[in-house]
Symmetry: C2
Subunit: 208 residues, 2 copies
């Protein structure tokens, strides 16, 4: 019985620690494939093509849209961001669970196209802690931090659209919870129809 | 935020290894409470009152039914079996996940009364393996084994009523899967409404 991979969409407030979580999850367990988005924005210092993002031109991006080579895409602050289809579908077919980091609009688009996708929302233990983490980076002005918190307040309205939340208080615990949620999803009867059908047939034949 | 326990109903074919699984799960993790059924049948050699079952008289059992002291009950082969309410509700209230072993009709009655209950179905890796396990006990006649397999074929029709299946091939892996499924259930937004609401309020106040 071939195990089919699950498309796992991870969203969460800026500062909730999604990036670190997902990196740790992928390092610890080898059934995961981390999808890398394509973007038209310029690389920031330290970013590498193919690691943080695939950096492409607007022309190249539009070509991909036209070829239906992106599962979803969106435009923010004049830059395009999108999820390459080939990487995700190839790994799903191989039985690996593909993790995407994506904001809520993108997540809902994915759920529309792939109703079996698993939508997870990462939350900080409290808003005060979120503020501390955003301030602790030391790279943002007070204005940017306030803007991020206002955006989080907006995003928080959509949490019930997600299948699961995980609270990122302790990193290791949170990684284990993410992993547990994905294991659980593999155990739904709907994902095991072939196995259940086979068992029924065998039982009717008396288990010989 | 108080964590409320989950009522976990475990069913599965005779010979699938439910009993061993649940014992191991409860030994390994301390957030579980294993519910013990009451029955009017006689204890078998080696069985202890309060360990395998609470052995009670028919009169006592009927009194409990009248007092609504059982979450569900059923009659098999002229004997009553039922799930004591006080034990389950007390532990759920304390935040422990309460595990019941119960067959499908009982499981569906529980789901009716407690829509939040989590229904798990334990399956052997194959029908042939189930037959081997039933034969391997060495205590059953061929006739009894065939009867159990026919019953399993009947029970298999209801598997889609369950929230999850677990395949008991390797015992330790299976215990981890059960545990993962229960962790996942705690992470549904609907079980964290209070936390989500609090976060929304805090974010609107700017995380101060």
């Amino acid at each position: 019985m071939k195990r089919k991979g699950i498309l796992v969409v991870v969203s969460g407030f800026s500062g909730a620690g999604k990036g670190t979580l997902m990196k740790k999850l992928v390092q610890k367990y080898d059934n995961y494939a981390l999808s890398i988005s394509a973007t038209t924005r310029d690389p920031r210092p330290g970013e590498q093509d193919g690691r943080e993002y695939f950096f492409v031109t607007r022309e190249e991006f539009k070509k991909r849209i036209a070829e239906d080579a992106l599962i979803e895409y969106a435009c923010y602050c004049d830059n395009y961001y999108g999820t390459p289809r080939d990487y995700a579908e190839r790994h799903l077919e191989e039985g690996r669970d593909v993790i995407l980091e994506i904001e809520i609009q993108g997540a809902l688009k994915i759920k529309d196209k792939y109703p079996d996708a698993l939508l997870l929302f990462v939350m900080p233990p409290s808003a005060a802690e979120l503020r501390r983490r955003l301030s602790g980076r030391g790279t943002e002005t007070q204005e940017v931090i306030d803007k991020r918190l206002r955006r989080a307040a907006q995003e928080a309205k959509g949490i019930e659209e997600y299948d699961y939340i995980v609270i990122n208080d302790d990193l290791d615990t949170c990684v284990e919870e993410l992993h547990a949620i994905i294991i659980a999803a593999h155990n739904k009867p709907v994902r095991n129809e072939e196995f259940i059908e086979k068992m029924r047939l065998e039982l009717e034949e008396g288990g010989e």
